[in-house]
Amino acid sequence: MRLSRSAKVVLGVITALVFLFIYTPLLLVVVNSFNADRTFGWPPKGFTLEWWGKAFDSPGVREAVVSSLWVAVVATVVSLVLGTLLALSLQRYAFFGRDVINLLVILPIALPGVVTGIALNNMFTTILGVPLSLWTVVIAHATFCMVTVFNNVIARLRRMSPGLEEASADLGAGVFTTFNLVTFPQLRSALLAGGLLAFALSFDEIIVTTFTIGAGETTLPIWILQNLFRPNQAPVVNVVAVVLIVVSIVPIWLAQRLSGESVGVGGARVKAEKG
């Protein structure tokens, strides 16, 4: 297939326009974080660093960041373990019910976040009578973060030659030795990529979190949502948003480098997705 030069140029222009569409609103947030005018009309009326100072002095923001980090770390660890076990079992063994489990894993990312949120909220509050806390948020997050890890690990396993593991067994290595010395080293970067994505996913999650978080607890997205509509806080929200944009670049850039392959979005989700 040979595309004419003009066809290529048209495609390039469309791509450039889409990128403009993708980045303009984000740039606007960055500009507004320095905008002296509280209403954020366009064009900006003056430059100020006041909001940045306020954001760094805000105890509410600091507490929210700490909760978010804690939830994201625990959820990532849980999903790393569960996602890896799941990927190993589904990729290596054929068994009755395999397709069902395969479908079960994608459900948390295929169903809207609001469904996951209310299902867990209902189970904790109505059925089990467990009070909502940061722990219930961790359980909820781990459920869909598992998919991210699963996707990354299973993609790597599919490309790994089973010959190495067989050779290791033939040479007398036990199941655990083979895992430690042969399988795990090959999986390491996939695990790191999956873990980073899971972390980012949890750190940004809002929909499922609103349904599973205890009264009085805040994660960073919850803090942003609560302060979005308060005229006095809106400038600080801009600053937090800019920091989030910058910080989010790091894990995605690392994950992309580590996995060395295009990162599946499913993995990515829900992100937000889930919100």
Binding site: Y23, S89, Y93, I106, N121, I206, P221, S262, A268
Partner: protein, 309 residues
């Protein structure tokens, strides 16, 4: 293995690690002999989690939808009734909200598909190889910029006196303001990377030689796209639509931020969990998006799209 360790010569150095190691090796040998046991060891924890946490929660949701709330005490009453479900399905208010939510989800999905196809094609097949990775990262980065930040950014873009009005003024256009159009625009924006990436991955998997062969046999680019690429791309496109469609169907936060008075199914669910304290009704409402998505997954499951998520 276990025997070998016990047969070490008497003079061989022994460390404290020997004993547990021997035990571990017996266990390892057992695992080695029995694939069934190995599978059980791998599968038990994650399967239990998925079933006990997720499936149990979904099942409980279904059951709760058939309960009611005692209007005096505010407690959930476990008497079975189809009242909630009947209300959701027959009350014109909820029918309208369901249709509006569906329309928004379909519109967002179509807009994203139209935007994603050329850009994914450009990145995978036209752009120079050294740009390719950079462009993919450029698509991915905003995916990770917080969902809230993006919805909020659009609140600023669409605001009165905001960027859109400023840009549109010279050509006589104005901002649509906060409402249904704003929700569609913002959701299309937020979920766009979820459509671009699977389609890009799909294009990337189509071998160039196939396209060259088609060209050598005399097919024009458009014919090649229609007859060679499109059939190979269908699973990727459907994978993308699952994301944009499902994510839009459950949204309520974007509707809160830029939707003005626009109500979506998610808004109703959220209001009934929080302010109205009517979990059974919220559960009944949430069955609607579940049913819609399940139906969609059922239709597309044969296309292989589910392996592209």
């Amino acid at each position: 293995m276990a025997q070998q360790i016990q047969q070490l010569p008497p003079g061989a150095p022994r460390t404290a690690g020997d004993v547990p190691r021997a035990k571990a090796n017996t266990f390892s040998a057992l695992l080695h002999r029995s694939p069934r046991l190995r599978l059980a060891g791998l599968l038990t924890a994650p399967a239990l989690w998925l079933v006990l946490v997720y499936i149990a929660a979904l099942a409980a949701l279904l059951v709760t939808a058939f309960w009611t709330v005692d209007t005096f005490t505010g407690q959930v009453s476990t008497e079975w009734t189809t009242e909630n479900i009947v209300t959701v399905l027959t009350d014109p208010v909820y029918q309208r909200i369901t249709l509006r939510t569906l329309w928004i989800a379909v519109a967002v999905t179509l807009i994203d598909m139209v935007l994603a196809l050329p850009i994914a094609f450009f990145i995978a097949k036209v752009a120079p190889a050294r740009w390719e990775k950079l462009l993919v990262v450029a698509v991915l980065m905003p995916l990770w910029a917080s969902y809230l930040v993006k919805a909020y950014a659009w609140r600023n873009v669409l605001a009165e006196g905001g960027l859109l009005e400023w840009l549109g003024a010279p050509i006589g256009l104005s901002s649509p303001g906060y409402g249904e159009t704003a929700v569609i625009l913002t959701l299309s924006y937020i979920w766009l990377p979820y459509m671009i990436l699977p389609i890009y991955a799909g294009f990337d998997r189509v071998p160039d030689s196939l396209l060259e062969a088609s060209g050598d046999l005399g097919a024009k680019p458009l014919t090649t796209m229609r007859l060679v690429m499109l059939p190979l791309l269908v699973p990727s496109i459907i994978a993308g639509t699952i994301f944009t469609f499902s994510l839009s169907l459950g949204d309520y936060i974007t509707a809160q931020i830029v939707g003005g008075t626009t109500q979506m199914l998610g808004t109703v669910v959220y209001a009934n969990v929080g302010a109205a304290n009517n979990l059974p009704f919220a559960a009944a409402v949430s069955l609607v998006p579940i049913a819609i998505i399940m139906f969609y997954l059922f239709i597309v499951r044969r296309t292989g799209a589910l392996n592209n998520l």
